[in-house]
C-alpha cells in the first residue's frame, strides 16, 4: 500500500486538521469527540447534521457551510461515526428549530444515528438517503452520490427558516426522486487494511459497486463507456420512471481514480443516451463529489427535478467543495 500517511491511526485527525486549516474561513474542527461545524453558527434554522465513514471526501466535510450542512461527524475510514460525536455536534449547533440528520443507508450509519437520536434531548428527524439502485429497489438502496443532492436541497430550504417537518419532507422527496448506479474498474485500498478490498481481472468491472468497494449488481466484462453508461442508465430510469417532459439533474461522480477527462466522456455518453430517449437534462454536475478513496470508477445519478427541487439546487451555496451563487 502506497499512501501519504505518517501513521495509520493518525490519518483521520491529521487530514481533518489540514482540511480545517485550509478552510478556516468556513469551518471549525472539534476534537474528542471529533466533529466539524460551520465557522459561524447559524441562528434560528433547522440544524443539518450529516456524517459517515471517512474516505468519501469531499463528502461530507466539503459540504459544510452556508446553504448546506451545519455539522459533520466523520467516522474512521469507511466506518460510521459513533453517537457521542453526534451528541456533541448536536449540542453545538442546535437551535430551537430542531435537528435534521441526513444519513446514508448503511446498517452502521443508521444504527449509530438512531441511537444518537434516541439519546438527544432535542427534536430530531432523519432523512435516510437510499439512492443506490443497484439492487433494484430505491427505498432499500445504499446511500451514495445522490446524498449531495439531498444535502444541497435541504440545506437551501433550511436556510429559509423552514421547519423541521418541511426539511425532512423535502429530503425524503429528493431521495425518492433520485437514483444512482456505479461501476468500479479497480478496488480501493483501506489504509488500515493495507491491501485492496477486492480484486478484478484485467477485463472485469464490478457493476453496481458501493462506495466502499462492496460488491454490487454483478461482475461484468469491461465494455465501452457508452455501453456501461447505457446499462447504468437503464437501471436508474427503470427505478425513476421519468415522464417525457421530466427535467433531469445529472451527476456524473468519480470514485477517486478516474480522471476528469473520462468523467466528462461519460457525461457525453449520458447526454447522448438521454437525448435519444427524449429526456431533458436541465442541470448537471461532473466531478469527484462522493469518492471511495482510490477506487477507479464512476457513478451516474439522476434526479427528477420539479420547481421546488430546482430552486433549491440553484440557490447560493458556499462550502469548501460546492460553491455558487
Amino acid at each position: 500500500m502506497k499512501k501519504f500517511i505518517n501513521n495509520v491511526d493518525d490519518i483521520l485527525v491529521e487530514s481533518l486538521k489540514g482540511f480545517a486549516t485550509a478552510h478556516k474561513d468556513l469551518v471549525s474542527l472539534h476534537l474528542e469527540p471529533i466533529f466539524l461545524t460551520r465557522k459561524v453558527p447559524s441562528m434560528n434554522k433547522v440544524a443539518l447534521i450529516s456524517g459517515g465513514g471517512s474516505g468519501h471526501e469531499p463528502l461530507h466535510t466539503g459540504y459544510l457551510g452556508h446553504g448546506m450542512l451545519d455539522a459533520v461527524c466523520p467516522g474512521h475510514v469507511f466506518t460510521s461515526p459513533t453517537p457521542d460525536q453526534m451528541l456533541a455536534a448536536a449540542d453545538k449547533v442546535n437551535t430551537e428549530k430542531g435537528i435534521l440528520f441526513i444519513v446514508k443507508n448503511y446498517a452502521g450509519d443508521v444504527m449509530n444515528f438512531e441511537m444518537a437520536a434516541e439519546m438527544l434531548p432535542y427534536e430530531v428527524a432523519t432523512v435516510l438517503v437510499t439512492d443506490d439502485c443497484a439492487a433494484g429497489d430505491v427505498t432499500a438502496g445504499r446511500g451514495v452520490a445522490g446524498t449531495i443532492i439531498v444535502e444541497k436541497c435541504v440545506g437551501s430550504l433550511a436556510e429559509t427558516g423552514a421547519n423541521l417537518q418541511a426539511c425532512k419532507a423535502l429530503g425524503d422527496k429528493v431521495n425518492q426522486r433520485t437514483a444512482s448506479m456505479g461501476v468500479a474498474l479497480s478496488s480501493c485500498t483501506v489504509p488500515a487494511a493495507g491491501r485492496p478490498t477486492f480484486s478484478l481481472a484485467d477485463n472485469e468491472v464490478e457493476m453496481g459497486v458501493g462506495i466502499h468497494g462492496e460488491a454490487g449488481h454483478s461482475r461484468e466484462t469491461l465494455r465501452s463507456a457508452n455501453e456501461m453508461a447505457a446499462e447504468m442508465l437503464e437501471h436508474i430510469l427503470s427505478t425513476l420512471s421519468p415522464t417525457a417532459n421530466s427535467e433531469i439533474l445529472v451527476l456524473v461522480n468519480g470514485f477517486g481514480n478516474t480522471p476528469l477527462m473520462e468523467l466528462y466522456l461519460i457525461y457525453n455518453s449520458v447526454t447522448e443516451l438521454l437525448a435519444a430517449k427524449g429526456l431533458k437534462i436541465a442541470r448537471s454536475l461532473v466531478g469527484n463529489y462522493t469518492t471511495a478513496l482510490d477506487m477507479a470508477g464512476a457513478s451516474i445519478t439522476l434526479c427528477l427535478l420539479d420547481d421546488e427541487i430546482k430552486q433549491h439546487w440553484d440557490s447560493a451555496v458556499h462550502t469548501p467543495a460546492l460553491r455558487w451563487d
Partner: protein
C-alpha cells in the same frame, strides 16, 4: 459475575480476536467492507485501557460502561449492536435477584433481544444473530435443566460453532452483505464469527 471475571474475559477475548485478525478481516472483505476486525479490535483496545476502572463497579455498571465504551469506539454496524447487547444485559442485571444460572441466561437473552431490536433483524439473516440466538436459547435450556456452569459452557461452545457454520449457506438480508444476493452464499458472516470466538473464549475461561 465478578469484576475479576469480566476483566479476565476482556483480556482473553482481546487476545483471541487479535489472533484471528487475518480470518476476520478476510471474511469481511469477502462479503462486507473489510473493517470488522479493525472495528472490534479498536473497541477491545479501549476496553483493555478501561480494566482498572471496572474493578469497583457493580456488574450492571460494568456492563453499561462496556456498552458505552464500545458504542463510542467501534462505529460501523457492530458498534451499536455490541453496545445494545451489553445495555440489554446490564438492564437485566439491574432487577436485583440472586446470581443464579437462570439470571445469567436471562441476561444474555436480554442482551440478544436488545441487539436484535437495534438491528431489526432475526435468525437466518446471516448476521451475528445466527450465533447469538441459538446460544441464548441453549443457555436458557441449560439453566432450566440445571446443568453445571462447565456443562453449560461446553454446550454453548458447540452451539456457537454450529451457528457460525450455518451462516455460510445463508443469503444475507441485513448489513452490507445484503446487496450481494446469491454471491454471499458460501461465505461465513464476519460478525457471526467474532461472536462465536468471543463466546468460545469466555466459555473456555469457565472450563479452566
Amino acid at each position: 459475575m465478578q469484576a475479576q471475571f469480566i476483566i479476565a474475559s476482556i483480556e482473553a477475548v482481546y487476545e483471541v480476536i487479535l489472533n484471528h485478525e487475518a480470518e476476520l478481516e478476510s471474511l469481511d472483505r469477502a462479503i462486507g467492507d473489510g473493517d470488522h476486525y479493525i472495528n472490534i479490535s479498536r473497541g477491545l483496545t479501549k476496553l483493555m485501557d478501561l480494566r482498572e476502572s471496572l474493578q469497583d463497579l457493580s456488574v450492571d455498571e460494568s456492563l453499561n460502561k462496556i456498552a458505552m465504551t464500545l458504542l463510542s469506539t467501534i462505529g460501523g454496524a457492530s458498534g451499536p449492536l455490541f453496545a445494545s447487547f451489553f445495555m440489554g444485559m446490564a438492564q437485566s442485571f439491574q432487577q436485583p435477584s440472586d446470581m443464579t444460572a437462570k439470571l445469567y441466561a436471562n441476561a444474555f437473552s436480554a442482551g440478544v433481544e436488545k441487539l436484535a431490536q437495534r438491528g431489526k433483524s432475526s435468525l437466518g439473516e446471516k448476521t451475528m444473530l445466527d450465533v447469538l440466538i441459538p446460544v441464548a436459547d441453549e443457555f436458557k435450556l441449560a439453566a432450566d435443566k440445571g446443568l453445571t456452569s462447565k456443562e453449560t459452557a461446553s454446550a454453548l461452545i458447540v452451539t456457537a460453532e454450529k451457528g457460525v457454520l450455518a451462516t455460510k449457506e445463508l443469503l444475507a438480508t441485513k448489513g452490507r452483505a445484503a446487496g450481494l444476493g446469491e454471491r454471499a452464499i458460501g461465505h461465513i458472516d464476519p460478525g457471526a464469527k467474532s461472536c462465536q470466538l468471543i463466546i468460545e473464549t469466555i466459555c473456555k475461561l469457565i472450563l479452566r
